[in-house]
Subunit: 236 residues, 2 copies
Amino acid sequence: MPDTTKDRKAHLLDRLKRAILTQGMRPGADLDEAQLCADSGLSRTPLREVLRELAGLGYVELRTNRGARVSEMSHTTLRDFFLAAPMIYGAILRLAALNAAPAQIEAIKAAQEDFRAALHRGSTTDRTLANNRFHEITGEMAGNIYLLPSFHRLLIDHARISMTFYRPVTPAMVENVSEASQQHDAIIAAIAARDEATAAQLAEDHWNLSRNQIESFVMPAGMDQPLGTLPRSTSA
Amino acid sequence: MPDTTKDRKAHLLDRLKRAILTQGMRPGADLDEAQLCADSGLSRTPLREVLRELAGLGYVELRTNRGARVSEMSHTTLRDFFLAAPMIYGAILRLAALNAAPAQIEAIKAAQEDFRAALHRGSTTDRTLANNRFHEITGEMAGNIYLLPSFHRLLIDHARISMTFYRPVTPAMVENVSEASQQHDAIIAAIAARDEATAAQLAEDHWNLSRNQIESFVMPAGMDQPLGTLPRSTSA
DNA sequence: AAAATACATATTGCATACATTTTGTAAATC
DNA sequence: GATTTACAAAATGTATGCAATATGTATTTT
């Protein structure tokens, strides 16, 4: 295995994507060129091309003369997210049901198997990445070049947000995650049946479930504990 | 005027955007690095960064080891366009009506003045660019970071398509263009009044007008002339 | 002592030489 | 004569040294 430069670039691209999606690199974190060069084995020119590609995809933001940072997530971006997500997700699943190729249906079945496995035995990042992969495939199925850019940006931040609730700590959260998995199965069935209307309805259901999870994280139930104590200890 | 490298990069970026939007550079056309270096005064490193930025915005496509070309437009992309445009345009104008800042309303009024002037005295490219600018501002007003990437891609191809009908050759086309301008005025009024519902309706109307123009170009009326002759001579 | 300024250091941006890949052309083979 | 193969030319990708910009620190000034 020669390990060409092209491979190293693809590797680094993938590694940074995963790290950002799973919050291994937090929103706003600085990316040090010298550091990344060192542990990727790339020189600065191709490294900077990788950063520019990530910027184009929405993973990072480039500030002239001040390096790259991981894209921010604020309360305003969360509001934008809530407005855009249901519309785009609905359109993507509609088109996926209309256009999915047989090979893609096989691919999404495999992705769903991975997701299910991650729910049973995987880590939080495994679950987030498997779920992300599932939805990426629906985007490929829809195949609309005008919708994909926005769809991908939504998926990035959806993954980062969902990292918080793919670490289920209450029975209710476990139940939610299980329901999400069942919805995935229904989505696959609707796509395989070319059932556009059902796919759109499932998109709405799936979004509502996710929205509830997000809301319960952003606006958790009021604490009925004395101040200075958290209602539940989180590991580390 | 020092004319720094940063200025030259911005200049080239703008020049290439305009050329692509106005079909000065045709879809599929190759971009020669050496040539661009020569007439932009940039060396290859910053030039390639410009190309990567254009790729991220959807103006060009990069093929490894084979250079950049202007993004293609085919019948499949046109189909995607017809599906995505009404949805995205509607959402953008809705949000624009909700969120527009006073300074932005002044900006779009100025843009509309430019557009009107271009209709009277300007060239086809002037009209296309002025129209493009008008709609760019609606995107800035909406300000939803998840919708903007798709919106911008739509605007790119909308500009390229509209170059064909901003060179009006029949009285009916002149009438259409005039109606588009009136719709712009109504859009501005709805936004200034924060009238979300009207803005959404106008988005639909404006799209329908544009769609009809596109359709009459893609599927023109049958020729009742002998073969070998075009029904109407176009200048150059 | 607080603020401002000058300087040193670190980081980013650019230019150019070199390596690799592609592509066009001509010779050779069948 | 058509196809294949070898080679040459051109274009793309990468590495690195140098320039420009930003940042932190120490010194000076009030």
